[in-house]
Symmetry: C2
Subunit: 329 residues, 2 copies
C-alpha cells in the first residue's frame, strides 16, 4: 500500500479566478493551462495500520492537520477507496513553494495519484482530475500533460467539472514558459483567500466572467493552430484582467512588487525590439514569460540581467502526473 507519483506544475493561459462553490471546490469559470516540465513535485504515500495518524512532510517541513487541507484530502481518497487507514506522505518539489508558482497544483496532483494507487483505487485520469480538484482546484489540470482545459461544469456535484488534454506535450514542443524567481518569501494572501475576497468585493468581477469564454475559445483554437501570438496575447490579457480584479477589490489585493513591474516593462520592451515575448502572472509576485524556441536564449538573457530577478526556470510542455518506481522512503 505504497506508491509514488510525480506531477508538474501548470501555468494557466486563461486564468481560474473565483469559486462558485467551496465544498466541493467548483470554479466560476473555465481555464486553460500548460503543464510545465521543469517544475516537478514527487510524492510518496504509504497507508499502513502501523500509523496512528496522517504524517505529511513537504520539503522537510511537517504539515499538521488543518494546514492546507492535506489531511482532509487523504481522508477523502480513503473514503472513495473504502479503506480506513492512516498515511505517511513525503513530498519534494524542485522549485520554491507558496510563491505563486503553482506548488499546490503539482503537490495535490502528485498526492492524489500516489494516494489513489496506494489505496488500491483504479480510476480513469478524468476521475482522478475530479478527485484532485476537490483538494485544490487548479491542481486538477496537472493530472494531464501538454495543454489542458479545465471545464467549469454546471452541476453542483462536480461530476462535469474536470480537466482534459487539448493536445499532448509533443504537439507544440516549441512553446516556452520561462518562470522568473523574484523572491522566495511567502506571499501575503493565499490565492484561495484572494479569490474569495474578489468574488465577494470586486465591482469588476462580473465584467471578468463575461470575457472568459471568448478567451477560452481564442486560446484553445490558438493552441490547435500553433498560433503563438493569438495564444500569448490572450494569455497576457487574461492575467492582467485577473490582476485588475484583485487591485479593484475592497480591500485591494496587491501581488505585484517592484520586481514584477521591472519584468513586465522589460517584456514590453522586448516586443518593441521585435522579440515575441509575453508575460503572465498568478497569485504571487513572480512573472512567467512565454516565447518560442527561437527567442528563448535572448529572452532568458534579458530576464536574468534584471536587478529584481534571482533566477529563471525554463519550462517546456511537460508530462501529466505519473506513477514512478522510486519511492522517497
Amino acid at each position: 500500500m505504497k506508491a509514488t507519483a510525480t506531477a508538474n506544475a501548470n501555468i494557466a493561459l486563461v486564468k481560474y479566478w473565483g469559486k462558485r462553490s467551496t465544498d466541493p471546490i467548483l470554479p466560476q469559470n473555465g481555464s486553460i493551462s500548460m503543464t510545465c516540465n521543469g517544475m516537478t513535485t514527487t510524492t510518496t504515500v504509504e497507508f499502513s495500520d502501523k500509523y496512528k495518524e496522517h504524517t505529511v512532510i513537504i520539503n522537510d517541513e511537517e504539515f499538521k492537520k488543518d494546514e492546507k487541507d492535506i489531511h482532509g484530502h487523504i481522508d477523502r481518497i480513503c473514503k472513495i477507496a473504502g479503506i480506513n487507514l492512516k498515511a505517511k506522505v513525503i513530498s519534494e518539489s524542485n522549485f520554491p513553494v507558496a510563491a505563486g508558482l503553482a506548488s499546490s497544483a503539482s503537490g495535490f496532483s502528485a498526492l492524489t495519484m500516489a494516494a489513489a494507487k496506494a489505496a488500491g483505487l483504479n480510476v480513469s485520469s478524468k476521475e482522478l482530475s475530479i478527485i484532485t480538484r476537490q483538494g485544490s482546484g487548479s491542481a486538477c489540470r496537472s493530472i494531464f500533460g501538454g495543454f489542458v482545459e479545465w471545464h467549469k461544469g454546471e452541476k453542483q456535484d462536480g461530476s462535469d467539472s474536470y480537466a482534459e488534454e487539448i493536445v499532448d506535450k509533443n504537439y507544440w514542443p516549441d512553446f516556452r514558459m520561462i518562470t522568473t524567481i523574484v523572491e522566495v518569501k511567502k506571499k501575503p494572501v493565499s490565492s484561495r483567500g484572494g479569490m474569495a475576497q474578489t468574488v465577494a468585493n470586486c465591482p469588476y468581477y462580473e465584467g471578468w466572467l463575461k470575457t472568459v469564454e471568448s478567451d477560452l475559445d481564442a486560446v484553445r483554437t490558438g493552441i490547435k493552430q500553433k498560433d503563438f501570438l493569438k495564444v500569448a496575447e490572450t494569455a497576457e490579457y487574461s492575467a492582467l484582467k485577473m490582476h485588475a480584479t484583485m487591485i479593484a477589490t475592497k480591500p485591494p489585493i496587491m501581488y505585484w512588487i517592484p520586481a514584477s513591474m521591472e519584468i513586465i516593462h522589460s517584456v514590453r520592451q522586448m516586443r518593441e525590439d521585435g522579440i515575441h515575448a509575453y508575460f503572465t502572472m498568478d497569485a504571487g509576485p513572480n512573472v512567467k514569460v512565454m516565447c518560442l524556441t527561437k527567442d528563448e536564449k535572448e529572452v532568458s538573457k534579458r530576464l536574468n540581467e534584471l536587478d529584481g530577478v534571482v533566477r529563471t526556470i525554463l519550462c517546456t510542455p511537460g508530462d501529466g502526473a505519473k506513477l514512478v518506481d522510486k519511492h522517497l522512503f
Copy 2:
C-alpha cells in the same frame, strides 16, 4: 489687454476617468479634488494686433498650433469675448509637467483666467470653470480652492458640467498631499488617450461607473466631517479602481513602474506601523500620499528614503486660480 493669473494643480480624490463627449469635453462621471498649494502655474496672456499668430511658450518651450489644443482654447475665449486678436502666452510651472502631475490642470485654469481677463470678459467663477473645462476637463476644478467637486451634468451643451467649492482652503488645513517625483520623463500615454482607450476597450468600465456615485457621496461627506479615514480610504480605492480599468484595457495601459510599487508598498507598511497614510495615483508613475499634519514628517521621511523617489512636494489645501499684478513679460 494683458493679464496674469496663477493656478494650482489639483489632485483628484474621486477620479475623473472617461469622456462622454469630446466636443465639448464632458465627463462620464463626477469627481472631487483637492487644490494643491505648492504646485503652481503662472501664466501671462497679452492680446494685441501686433501679433500675427498665437505664440505659446510653456517652461521656455514653444508650443505650436495643434499641440495640446492651447491655440484652439485661446480662440475659444476670443470668440466668447467677441474679439479677433492673436495672443502671446508665457507660462511657467514650479513642478515637472506631463508626468501625471496635473500640469494641464493648473496650466489650463491659469491660461483661461488670464486670457478671459485680457480679453475683457467679465464672468463668474462657475462660468470660468465651464470655459476651462472645454480646454482640459480636470482643469475646471483648479479654478476653485480647497476641496472641489466637478459635477458631471446631464446636458449636451455642458452648461451643467461645472466645478464648485465644497469647502475652502481654510476649512481643513491639516490635510496633506505629498507628491513623490519618481521620474521627469514624459509619460507614454496621455491621460486623454488613456481614458479614450479605456471607455472603448475595457470590459470593467461599466463596473467603474457604477461605483463612482457612492465614492462621491463618501468623500463629499467625509470632507465636510473632516473624517480623514473615510476620505483617504475612499480616495485610495478610487485610484486603484481607475488603474484597474487601465490595466484591463485592450491593449493594456500601464502607468505603474517599479518605483510606483515601491511607494505603494511603503504606504501600506506605514499603515501596518500605525501611521495614517493613503496613496492616490493619476495617469503617470508618480504616487501622491495623503496624511494629516501629525504624520507629515514621518511620512515625508520614509518616502524620501525610498530608492525610487527623487524628491517629494508637500501640498496643503490651496487657493483657486487668481489674477496677480506681476506679469511674466
